[in-house]
């Protein structure tokens, strides 16, 4: 009984729904290995972006709805790699090398800003994220990129979707991949890399700095009284979150095979926020197991809802609608829980 109460009704519904979909997929005779493969890929490619929520929550700034700041840095890294025609693994690394310092800088500025608006971080960060994305819509037209891979053949600016086929698309997914089952090709490189990033973060969280950051998030007044600089740790948390957002985006793009520019990153923070909340996090409490459980549940659910629905009727865009309902439902639930405390 206690466990049910701790889970909360929305999470129980999501878990039941998740299991129901898999059972239905089995009963309907859908190609299970294919579904497993798609799910694994999507879990792997989203994991780091969900992980980006952890430092934000731990350092006390709450759910980072301004994840698009990091995402834009990641996109910039990827776009630069294409512009300078760095191919293969080198291209992937090059994208990271560009993206990480940029995201540190952006995250630092943004962290300073967040320290001035304590208490309203979530709302303001949502609009900061939206603003950055729409500002970069202008930038994608104006910035002087020359690569034919990216520019519209005629007219100004970059394409809305840039293919990574000839640069670093699927570079991690295809690394050491092997068939677990016939048709279930395991994206070893992707899972290894995402797991590796999670591991690094875990190790960091056990260091003195990591523990101090958690203390600041848990109880700022206590942290200040034992001599920790609350504002500095909050900035650190913001920077880490932004960097993870950037790395997450590069990984996402290589797995997806395309970089989507313009409006595409606008709503990308919400699935990440929803995933960690589904995993069991709140706006004040988060750890890596929540990230992994949440990503598996949420992305797994989204991946198979469309094929399962299609086996009953012409599914249309049902996956998108389910995403909207589940994602925003769980965020609302978390907000309502926070308010009643």
């Amino acid at each position: 009984m206690k466990a049910i109460k701790r889970l909360g009704l929305p999470r129980i519904i999501i878990i039941v729904f998740f299991l129901l979909l898999w059972v239905t997929a089995g009963v309907k005779g859908l190609h299970i290995p294919g579904l497993l493969k798609d799910s694994t890929v999507r879990i792997g490619m989203n994991l780091i972006m969900v992980l980006a929520m952890v430092p934000a929550i731990r350092s006390g700034i709450g759910l980072n709805f301004a994840l698009p700041i990091g995402i834009i840095c990641g996109i910039l890294g990827g776009v630069m790699a294409i512009e300078f025609e760095v191919i293969g693994f080198a291209g992937f690394l090059y994208a990271l090398v560009i993206a990480i310092p940029l995201s540190v800088a952006f995250g630092w500025i943004y962290g300073i800003m967040l320290n001035k608006i304590k208490g309203s971080e979530m709302l303001v960060s949502t609009y900061v994220g939206f603003s950055i994305v729409s500002l970069f819509c202008i930038a994608w037209i104006v910035l002087p990129f020359t690569s034919d891979e990216m520019r519209w053949p005629i007219g100004e600016g970059l394409r809305t979707v840039v293919s990574l086929e000839s640069t670093f698309g699927h570079i991690l997914n295809d690394f050491l991949d092997f068939d677990i089952l016939p048709g279930y090709r395991f994206p070893t490189g992707l899972i290894l890399f995402s797991g590796f990033v999670c591991l690094i973060y875990y190790i960091f969280s056990q260091t003195r700095v990591g523990i101090a950051m958690k203390t600041v998030g848990d109880n700022p007044k206590f942290a200040a009284s034992i001599g920790l600089n609350v504002d500095r740790y909050r900035i650190l948390g913001t920077i880490l979150s932004t960097v993870l957002g950037a790395v997450g985006m590069v990984v996402f793009a290589q797995s997806f095979g395309y970089i989507q520019l313009y409006q595409a990153p606008l709503m990308m923070a919400f699935p990440a926020v929803a995933a960690i909340l589904i995993g069991g996090a709140t706006a004040k409490k988060a750890n890596i197991s929540f990230v992994i459980i949440g990503t598996i549940l949420f992305q797994g659910l989204l991946t198979i809802s469309l094929p399962v629905a299609s086996s009953f009727f012409d599914g249309g865009n049902i996956s998108e609608v389910i995403r909207m309902i589940v994602q925003n439902g769980i965020i609302l639930y978390a907000l309502a829980q926070g308010g009643s405390e």
Partner: protein, 435 residues
């Protein structure tokens, strides 16, 4: 001595001007951007005035729907999107049963009312559980409701909900993307509800401005005669009379002569939907009145201090629910006015940007999270939609790309909300620290 007071007066004056500039910096910035945009767009004056007038009449109601929650201390109600959905449900029903023109319009108003009130009650309950985070909660509620709305009309219409005919997609499930409200019968008369409100009274705009000019002149002349004002008040009155006279002469020149250059003469063709405009103005006045009644006082008390309100016997949660119910209801009505003017319903898109644009317009008019007036709503709509109209063309003329202008205006909408919310949070934090 006399010199010193004079000096002080001028310093005082300068401080006053400085204060005014700081307090209204957002609005003034937008005035500058708009003027710049108008010049850069090289738009024909009659097109510009026509478009601004149309947008002013169709969008202001929605912006005014935001006012009551602000007074009740709940901030900007992003969930007016849900009111818009209630309106669209009503419009779909009206269009589906082919209720013609004004009868259809009236039916839409009637059907949307209970839907909006019920939904508003539940949003209110939800926002009571998320105190302190009302704005983000209302925004997410809007997104959540959008999912439900799409679920209903994409997957249930035609399957669970018995609907058929040319509304439903060829697969037999889901509503079409667009619903034409300007359908005509064999005789060529419009039978949809599109423009049915706007068409009730249509008058050339510059006749209206002439009447307004006469009223302005009459008001100031009356003031001069009765009060015999001195100094700056007198100057103001004289200025008012001159302004009114200029407007009168300009309007008369447009309507009755051909002295002005051709591109200004075309202004003659602009019609104003007087009935819609009067409805909007009446609603604005209604807002002023309601805020001065007992209910308005209660709302203000709750907005200023919940604890004091609670102590003095006000049921705070009930009042907050009521504020959101009213806001949702007004948003629904506003959306009906908006859609009938467009003449076409974008089934899955018409409601999406409503909250963003309404909130951005209100903030550009100089409102904040805790204070908003009717004047700010009107001014905000004027400035925001002027920017909206001119920015694609300005982008095309300045940078050779109309898209650039479109992205710019989206950036402005998000940016102004972000800055306004950030500044408000910053001020609140400083105030808390000072206590």
């Amino acid at each position: 001595m006399a010199e010193k007071t004079l000096e002080q007066a001028s310093v005082n004056n300068r401080n006053k001007i400085l204060r005014f500039l700081i307090d209204n910096s957002v609005t003034l910035l937008f005035v500058v951007i708009c003027i710049f945009g108008i010049i850069a767009s090289k738009e024909q004056p009659f097109i510009l005035v026509d478009l601004i007038l149309e947008r002013l009449t169709r969008n202001t109601f929605l912006v005014l729907a935001l006012l009551i929650p602000v007074v009740a201390g709940m901030g900007l109600n992003f969930s007016i999107t849900i009111g818009a959905m209630a309106a669209q449900i009503a419009i779909i029903i009206v269009a589906y049963f082919k209720i013609p023109t004004q009868a259809g319009l009236l039916t839409a108003f009637i059907i949307s009312t209970p839907i909006a009130l019920i939904l508003g009650k539940y949003i209110g309950k939800l926002l009571n559980r998320t105190r302190g985070q009302e704005m983000i909660a209302s925004m997410i509620t809007g997104f959540f409701a959008d999912g439900i709305y799409q679920m209903i009309f994409l997957f249930m219409a035609g399957t669970i909900i018995p609907m058929s005919g040319d509304f439903i997609l060829s697969s037999g499930m889901g509503l079409r993307n667009t619903i034409d409200l300007m359908k005509t019968n064999e005789a060529g008369e419009v039978i949809g509800m599109g423009k049915s409100m706007d068409k009730i009274i249509e008058v050339p705009f510059f006749y209206i401005t002439m009447i307004i000019a006469v009223i302005i002149i009459g008001y100031f002349i009356n003031k001069m005669r009765k009060e015999q004002p001195e100094g700056s008040v007198k100057n103001k009155a004289i200025g008012g009379i001159i302004g009114g006279a200029a407007l009168l002469i300009f309007s008369a020149l447009i309507m009755f002569t051909k002295v002005l250059p051709h591109k200004y003469n075309l202004l003659k063709t602009i019609d104003m939907s007087l009935f819609t405009a009067l409805v909007v103005i009446a609603f604005a006045i209604f807002n002023v009145i309601i805020l001065n009644t007992k209910l308005g006082q209660t709302l203000k008390t709750v907005g200023q201090d919940k604890h004091i309100a609670e102590v003095s016997g006000i049921k705070v949660n009930k009042v907050r629910e009521l504020a959101i119910m009213l806001s949702t209801l007004f948003a629904a009505w506003g959306q009906i006015i908006f859609i009938q003017n467009l003449g076409i319903l974008n089934t899955y898109g018409s409601h999406k940007q409503i909250a963003l644009f309404a909130v951005a317009a209100l903030l550009i008019g100089g409102a904040s999270v805790s204070k908003a007036t009717i004047g700010q709503a009107f001014l905000g709509v004027l400035l925001f939609h002027t920017l909206f109209i001119v920015s694609p063309k300005a982008g095309l003329n300045l940078f050779g790309d109309a898209q650039l202008g479109e992205f710019f205006r989206t950036f402005v909408a998000y940016g102004v909300i972000g800055v306004a919310l950030g500044l408000h949070a910053w001020k609140t934090m400083i105030m808390k620290r000072n206590e």
